[in-house]
Subunit: 293 residues, 2 copies
């Protein structure tokens, strides 16, 4: 039974822009409000409050949100609402983000890591079922992954799953700001290539390696690629396919693993993070979302 | 309620030796029978049948096994009992191993991949609970991992999860029989170092990299190390700790990820594979085992 009066709000706190999206119960967007992201936990919470209020005026004036779900970078403890290591947002040490948001919003807000939320949003948009598994590789300023295993987000023991950008992929690679050498993120992230499209080959090489890593480690049904550096879409996918074909051409083992057939682009023009944040919050939607275990 | 008359039999079909172990319901070993592994699906099944029969005579003469569970290398489809890619056992194309075993044994046998079984056996022996997660890295002729996530074995979409030995860890590494260059398995497996203890540094380097891979990708609570090349025990763990400390010393990021504190040796002197195979079969033991999803 769908209640047409019910609205769910998902907010994606990005490095530069914060976007709040109102959804109906079928996860169809009803409206969107956005503004530059402010830095520091208090200002982030205030900005979220402003955007949710603006959505209330523009879209859902007669409907109080049944869900308010927020996703943001960093190590998010979903159970406690604590966020740490979101350095680009001016958050280093753990902050009680959930409590701050609840205070501003006057209602509890569910928190989720942004890449995990995008993974869950992509899983939903690709129409995958609860027996399916997906790795979502986000290629933006950094490289990180979110995993949906058997229909559920896998967050890890400390909320730190998916830090694949800091696994060394070549010993002779460039230095990474993290202190290591040859990390995938030091080779093929936006930070590494200066967001220069001429250097896309490095991005494609790094992403091909992460596809192989996700497919061989977790044997997921699909690996979806998203994030700012992949927004060109099909040309990126084509270049990635050439790389994966090269890898498969020298290795019957990789060929039998079927890397190429598992790759998808994350859907474009869809607020994946906001949608995924709502899905994560709505743990009652059978099997698709998961609360912290 | 423990029924003292109930016996569970786990059989570990290894590359050189096949071991059958009878357990009571608390997973305490009651007896063991072993013999050289025969090659080819039919002979493997016959050998399993002989050993289970021998156990029946030596240990469990008055008790018919409540469970017969078999683990072996290769791509095991737990739901159908099909096994493929167990090249060292003379099995390449998929064979109906479950049906062969049932025919020989006169009873159904649960099949599991050997590394997944050892992961589940280790998870049990380390006393981990259903909220915990473990990566078990097996370092023998090859390198592969098994994952227990939230108390359940994660087998992947095609039963192929854990093939971390064939992710390249350095572009300038040696050629791997799989066709790639610089795979972890080409650097630090038993096949790579010729089981030569003088070359243990290569093994330790490769295992340190797999520990980092498992910790950053899945954020598991613990990474357990097992397999023939780690049987020396504490000295191996000490050498691994030095490697991980070196990695952490250059990277605050890695230090905060706490690689060193997550590492354990898989328990020695315990039939981990046979025990894990029984655990996998006994899906009714709350949350510890998982049927194919």
């Amino acid at each position: 039974m769908i209640d047409d009066d019910v609205v769910h709000v998902g907010v994606d706190v990005g490095g530069t822009t914060t976007r709040a999206v109102a959804f109906d119960t079928a996860l169809v967007p009803l409206g969107i409000e956005s503004a530059p992201t402010l830095h520091g936990a208090d200002l982030i919470a205030e900005r979220v409050g402003e955007l949710v209020a603006a959505l209330g005026r523009s879209v859902a004036s007669s409907r109080h949100p049944a869900t308010i779900a927020v996703c943001m970078p960093g190590r998010v403890d979903v159970a406690t609402g604590t966020v740490a290591d979101a350095v680009n947002l001016g958050i280093d040490a753990p902050v009680e983000m959930g409590a701050l948001l609840a205070s501003v919003l006057g209602a509890p807000a569910h928190l989720e890591n942004d890449v995990n939320a995008a993974a869950l949003g992509t899983f939903h948009e690709l129409g995958l079922g609860v027996r399916s598994s997906l790795a979502y590789v986000n290629v933006g300023t950094g490289i990180a992954a979110g995993f949906v295993l058997g229909g559920r987000v896998w967050r890890g023991a400390t909320g730190g799953a998916g830090e694949i950008g800091h696994i060394p992929m070549r010993a002779d690679g460039p230095s990474c700001p993290c202190g290591q050498v040859g990390c995938a993120e030091a080779i093929g992230s936006g930070r590494a290539v200066g967001h220069d499209p001429q250097r896309r080959e490095h991005v494609v090489a790094a992403v091909a390696w992460t596809v192989q890593l996700c497919a061989l480690t977790l044997d997921v049904d699909l690996v979806a690629i998203g994030g700012g550096l992949t927004e060109v879409g099909q040309p990126f996918l084509d270049a990635l396919d050439v790389q994966l074909a090269d890898r498969e051409s020298v290795s019957p083992f990789l060929r039998s693993a079927g890397l190429r057939s598992r790759v998808r682009l994350a859907p474009a023009g869809v607020p994946l993070g906001a949608a995924g944040a709502v899905l994560a919050a709505r743990a009652d939607i059978a099997g698709v979302a998961q609360r912290a275990r």
